[in-house]
């Protein structure tokens, strides 16, 4: 027996020495490590093992066999997080009804959409992909990591908050579409508010019915033919909101409609994780800070509709300075790869510091999504979600060279350039053959 144990021990040692390493192990060396929450390490290393950051420091010894990435002259930061997109979904809005909390993005994930790769090329490692803003109450959103090439299930981030999409203002009241036939209710902001209130009142009634039924069932005098209430998926979603199991992510632009929604949330006891877009956040920064509600906004995309016509580029910086948790989002499959550029603008428009600017697209959206414990910054114990840039990420001249999720490389510009070169070579060959050969 002792011999067997010794053999086992020896073989294990040999195995570790031979450098058995998985695809989720790597060591990034000699870069400028922008941790975002714990300062900067120049000429620093980041060691990821089994997808988790094991060490951040200088001169980390590489376990043998591990993949080493030379980051000399490069900048290493947490992967960018976009907390408002519609990518990787088959369909965005269930437009036929105004109230659709029963639809879930989980059912329509599409892991093969090219925008996932586009996001990776911009250093994005995780997104909150959402129902559209066509309805006062939309569907349930989902948080996924950009694991291009893997299945949709593997992309889901189970630790994230459950969130339900709400929308106020011009979009749900269809202000910018022509009216054909009978207009759909709601057509005004008062209608939008009333319909949201109605649904929560219905949901309260639904919860009451179930409570009564369950109570009655337990009691000894229960009638044998007690009929349970019908399980209604819409009502279940709203009930979950009132039970605190799901948070609201509310699309809004104007300061006034935002305040009304905060009132609604108090009326029914549900929590708001963040307001989306909210061009006029700067007008009510103090209220938002008091309520502890974050915002997820464009930096400077504005004036595309009336409610966005007072959206100023100082919004992000000013609100941050007033104590609001701010994240920058893209809401676009193209803009998603320039989020770090948008973050940089907050230094110019409002004077945020470098670290504050970087937080807008890393730890802040992570906190809003409830995943700050596992990602959003480079800290020991968090997932190895990393983006490597050739210049400082807040410089206009930078580009993303590599995007890593849980220690695996999902985007490698060097590899991409090599493939392009080979492709270009191949394109030129057949032409040569045609010219030379006789048919």
């Amino acid at each position: 027996m002792k011999r067997k144990l010794i053999c086992l021990f020896v073989s294990l040692c040999l195995a570790s020495l031979s450098g058995f390493s998985s695809a989720q192990d790597l060591l990034i060396k000699n870069g400028t490590i922008l941790t975002v929450t714990k300062g900067t390490v120049s000429n620093g290393d980041v060691l990821v093992v089994g997808g988790i950051i094991k060490k951040i420091g200088r001169d980390i010894k590489a376990p043998s066999g591990i993949k080493v990435i030379d980051a000399a002259g490069k900048y290493v930061m947490p992967g960018v997080i976009d907390s408002h997109t519609h990518i990787a979904l088959t369909g965005t809005n269930e437009t036929a009804n105004a109230i659709t909390p029963e639809v879930v993005m989980r059912d329509v994930l599409n892991a093969e959409e090219l925008s996932i790769y586009t996001a990776l090329s911009g250093g994005v490692t995780m997104v909150h992909t959402m129902h559209g803003s066509g309805n006062p109450i939309g569907g349930e959103n989902i948080v996924i990591k950009m694991k291009w090439g893997k299945t949709s299930e593997e992309m889901i981030v189970p630790q994230a908050y459950r969130t339900l999409k709400f929308a106020l203002g011009e979009n749900p009241k269809r202000a910018n579409s022509p009216i054909t036939g009978t207009p759909r209710f709601p057509q005004s902001r008062m209608g939008v508010n009333s319909i949201i209130r109605r649904e929560f009142l219905k949901a309260k009634n639904y919860m009451e019915q179930w409570d009564r039924y369950l109570k009655a069932k337990k009691s000894k005098k229960a009638a044998k033919n007690l009929v349970p209430p019908r399980k209604d998926l819409q009502m279940e979603q709203l009930a979950d909101m009132m039970r605190g199991k799901m948070l609201a992510r509310c699309h809004t632009y104007r300061a006034d409609e935002t305040l009304e929604f905060i009132k609604l949330s108090k009326e029914f006891g549900f929590k708001i994780a963040a307001f989306e877009h909210i061009s006029e956040a700067f007008k009510i920064a103090q209220e938002l800070a008091e309520e502890g509600i974050g915002i997820s906004i464009f930096l400077d995309n504005w004036a595309y509709k009336v409610e966005a016509s007072e959206g100023i580029a100082y919004n992000a910086a000013f609100c941050t300075q007033q104590g609001v948790l701010v994240s920058i989002n893209s809401d676009s499959g193209e803009r998603i790869r320039r989020l770090f550029n948008d973050a940089a603008k907050s230094m110019k428009y409002g004077g945020l510091s470098e670290e504050e600017a970087l937080k807008l697209v890393t730890i802040n959206p992570a906190i809003q999504l409830g995943v700050e414990k596992i990602t959003g910054s480079l800290e020991v114990g968090k997932h190895g979600d990393i983006a490597i840039f050739n210049e400082h990420p807040l410089s206009a001249y930078t580009l993303c060279e590599m995007t890593i999720i849980e220690g695996e490389i999902y985007f490698d510009r060097a590899q991409y350039l090599k493939e392009r070169e080979e492709m270009e070579k191949k394109k030129k060959e057949p032409v040569k053959k045609k010219k030379g050969g006789k048919r």
Binding site: L114, Y117, T118, S121, E170, N176, F282, K283, A285, Q286, D300, N301, W302, A303, Y304, K305, V306, S309, E310, I312, A313, Y314, F318, G333, E334, R335, R337, R338, N341, A344, K345, M347, K348, Y349, E391, L394, S395, A396, Y397, T398, L399, Y416, R420, M423, K434
Partner: protein, 424 residues
Amino acid sequence: MKRKVIACIALAFFCSSLGWARGEDAQVIAIKGAKIIPVVGEDIQEGTILIKDGKIEDVGENVTIPPGAKIIDATGLTAYPGMIDSFCHLGLHEIGSIRATIDYREAGRFNPQVKAVEALRPDSVHIPISRSNGITSAVVVSTGGLISGQSGLIRLLGWTPEELVIKSSVAMHIQFPTVRRSRRAEAQPQDQTSRQVDELKQLLNEARYYQKRRAAAQKDARLPLPEFDEKLEFLLPVVNGQLPVLISVYAENDIKAAIQFVQDEKLKAIFFGVTEGWKVADNLAKSGIPVVFGSLYAMPSNWEDGYDAIYRNPGVLAKAGVKFAFSSQSATLAKDLPYHAAKAAAFGLDRREALKGVTLYPAQIWGVDDVLGSLEKGKVANIVLADGDMLELRTNIKYVFIDGKQTDLSNIYTELLEKYKRRD
């Protein structure tokens, strides 16, 4: 004697009051202690720029500052020529969803007679925002149909449209039709046919003929004068080579066809967009046609072109020897002009070339490089003082001079911010 003195003093007052009435023109402004990037010639590590009568009076390391000059201490700042946006809708677009605020698109396919500058709204909130980011002039363009109208060059300062306009007509905008691809592999550009291109050619021929008949009738009273034709009338400067055509064209085959079209019709041309230009860089270089890039905030239409095709396009064309300029292709995001240039620099374009793409090169392309595009003696004093690289995202613009006037850097962003800072 006392009377003479009083008269002199009165005259002096009168003269100086005249000067005040004319604004800051009469007074010389001296920008002192700045790093100067004139774009033409060597950078000056620390120097002075003198502004007088709206022009650059002098620029250099050792410039004598005349007495009475207003001195602007530019220590720590960098002076650049004001930027030129080569394709935008400033002054023609307020809110995207409100058609009443959009004035750069007409109905119909042939509208050579419309002029973008005639719809300008000097009060547009977007002009001050661009200006405060260092953009001092812009080419405003109308779109729609095949021939969209005349683009004009404006300065980003003025109370009235008159004050905005530098040149009311700098190019005729043509949106080149998509050309049908010939199936044969060995097809020549002439084989790329399109009914619409033929229509264009026919229209230009008609214009030429119209001109001929008019000239002949004017010489010989016996000959009938042709009826006035609005479309043909306004195409005359184009067929005479006096007005260049600004051709919007994107795909590889369309670019080739457009080059052929320009050569066949012997037109002076500038191309816009040219997103697949990198596929035909040599053709473009050979043709000598300059290129204005549209917004780089776009995805390539073919996945196989690569995710960065639009980003690396300017670098490839510049290397091939094509003259180029950048544009914002916007009104609401016109302030981002420098960042398109920087994005191109991130993906292969030389950084100094990128800077030239928003200063000297557009001035040359639009034929105003005698007065704009660089910090040289005699040119118009469009000057930007920045606390860093003007193309950088984090840089703050501290001063913007247009025509020698120091402009107000406030805009709707700063106004609303101040308003809500004051909220009690």
